[in-house]
């Protein structure tokens, strides 16, 4: 739906514009290239899901949007514009007034992401007062509204509750309320449902979706869970070894992935259609970010690899409107199925 919106207003200024983002962590022993040349835009009110496994650079990319990495060890280059503000060039002082007000973030583990010795109410009001300088009573009143917005039952008592007094789901709702304190234009969510059990997960996702529609925020959502991505995203970008390797609107991507890695991910996912069949696994393991291979980082694990793959990192290839893939042999541009793979597929057939 939002994909349509994005099409209907192509001239509108994107909320987020990222160009050639590189993030490296420097230490005495080694330099770790966590993000290697990422470009993307996010329209206002759009939800982008960044999908990838541990160490693919998805969380690092997300944190770059408010420069939340440890400042001393991190090297960021490229351009990040959020609502016209240059995040890479901003001073610490400017950043602190952007964080929480223009961009805010929900974290994976609400138990450790909330301060254990401050009440929920205090953690919300201090954000409001930091950015808007309103009175404590006014902040308190707005904190109550926020807890009601995120549907925390008996909100008034919960203002005085400490994080350990809430259940996991309520804690994550409280975390969301903290993030929404000052109605940011951009909400970053770093695997916000991973630590929750399945039923609570769905409730929190639906809540996020509803609040996004209500407040009209742009959302960037990082997850490793395809199901979660399919539930919430307008667009999905898949990351591998610090690069975007495929980016497309949600449905086309989940129905017909083009990059071999994404095909592999979908093949390894349980769906109603996969009942009774063996799931396929992607051989090998993700590359070491200290010593990336020359060409395509996925080449060592890829079924369709040809020598050209190892020569240079493939460019992003536009295969359809709003659809790009970083592969020289994406699904549409290669022979139907190589013999070995066809054989394997036959063996697995019921």
């Amino acid at each position: 739906m939002s994909a349509l919106q994005a099409q209907s207003q192509p001239q509108s200024q994107p909320l987020v514009k990222v160009r050639d983002l590189n993030v490296a962590f420097v230490s005495k022993e080694a330099t770790l290239h966590a993000v290697n040349g990422v470009d993307f835009d996010l329209a206002p009110k759009e939800t982008l899901c960044i999908l990838g496994e541990s160490g693919s650079g998805k969380s690092v990319t997300l944190r770059s949007l408010m420069r939340l990495h440890p400042p001393k060890r991190t090297r960021i280059t490229g351009t990040i514009l959020v609502d016209g503000t240059d995040i890479v060039a901003a001073s610490e002082r400017e950043l602190s007034s952007i964080r929480g007000r223009l961009v805010s973030m929900i974290f994976q583990e609400p138990m450790t992401a909330l301060d254990p010795v401050f009440t929920i109410g205090k953690q919300i009001t201090e954000t409001i007062r930091r950015h808007e300088g309103v009175s404590q009573q006014e902040a308190q009143r707005r904190a109550l509204d926020l807890l009601e917005l995120v549907q925390i039952p008996s909100a008034r008592q919960r203002l005085d509750a400490y994080p350990h007094e809430l259940s996991g789901g309520l804690r994550q709702r409280a975390m969301i309320a903290v993030a929404l304190s000052v109605r940011p234009k951009l909400l970053l969510a770093d695997e916000p449902t991973t630590a929750l059990d399945a039923t609570v997960q769905i409730q929190v996702l639906l809540l996020l979706k509803r609040i996004q529609a209500e407040l009209g925020m742009g959302v960037i959502f990082v997850t490793h869970d395809l199901g979660v991505a399919g539930e919430i995203a307008d667009r999905i970008a898949v990351m591998y070894a610090g690069r975007f390797i495929e980016e497309a609107p949600t449905e086309p991507l989940l129905e017909a992935p083009e990059h071999p890695y994404v095909e592999g991910l979908l093949g390894a996912t349980v769906t109603p259609a996969s009942r009774g069949r063996r799931l396929t696994a992607i051989p090998g393991s993700p590359p070491n970010l200290r010593t990336l291979p020359e060409g395509c980082a996925f080449a060592p694990r890829c079924t369709y690899v040809v020598p050209a793959c190892r020569a240079a990192v493939p460019d992003l290839l536009a295969t359809a409107p709003e659809r790009t893939v970083r592969c020289i042999r994406p699904a549409g541009l290669r022979p139907p199925m190589p013999p070995a793979m066809a054989l394997a597929a036959e063996e697995r057939a019921p």
Partner: protein
Amino acid sequence: MIFYIVRRVLYSIPIALSVGLVCFLLVYISPGDPISAIAPPDAPAEMIAQLRRDYGLDKPLPEQFLIWLGRVVQGDLGHSLATGRSVWGEVSVALQNTVSLAVAACTLAFALGMLLGGLAAAFRDTWVDRLAMTIAVAGVSVPHYWLGMLLVAVFAVTYPLAPSMGAGPGGTFVWDWAHLPFLILPMVTLSAIPLGLVARTVRGTVIEILHQDFITTLRGKGLRSGGILLHVAKNAAPSVLAVMGLQLGYLMGGSILVETVFSWPGTGFLLNSAIFQRDIPLLQGTILVLALLFVALNLVVDLGQALLDPRIKR
């Protein structure tokens, strides 16, 4: 919270009773007959038996304990064998001197310790950190009687800046300008160990807290360093408070060595003379008062921790 307080107070009653028992048994654990300290060496057997009856030493031990306990509860700690004055009178004067010294030394140690530890954590792995930790380690490891003698040699003998003996005019310390100079050298000496411990605890705790996830959340909310410091302080407070409480407890006990070096008329000094004069009632009373003070202080620390950390009270 009320429930927690009541429970903690109830818990300390058996501890206090056991402390009393140990103090009482001191008379029997220590070698020699207490009577021999009072009676002349050549006293006839009847006189010794008479003394035994007078002091109630002929009754069975549990009965003696109950009688003694009953008197202690009423505030009667007996009389010093050496001076004949009431033990409570002696202890309370000495305690007043020691508490003044301990509070002064603790205040100095905690202020400097928190400053050093905080700086070390904020500038971790820089020369600031190394300097602060060198001071802290030196404070903990230097023998404090030696430090005391060094300070006396330098600041009382070579450069006579502060007096080195006693608590000032009248022999009892009071908070006025005439007595304050007497406090300086023993205070500095006594603060060395708690200073080092507090600095190291603050550094360790703050570094651990700075690595926790919620610090990232706080930065992500746009809080400035002042706002984040508030969170760090409240999170660090329980651990630091525990160390401080224990240290204050040790200092309240009076350092025998430091008080002897400076002839400070405190509990340490009193214990020292009680031991050398085999003045059992004085020893008993002093130890009992100090031990109970320690129990009470621990109780206060526990309650303070519960007040600061909502996860403790349950």
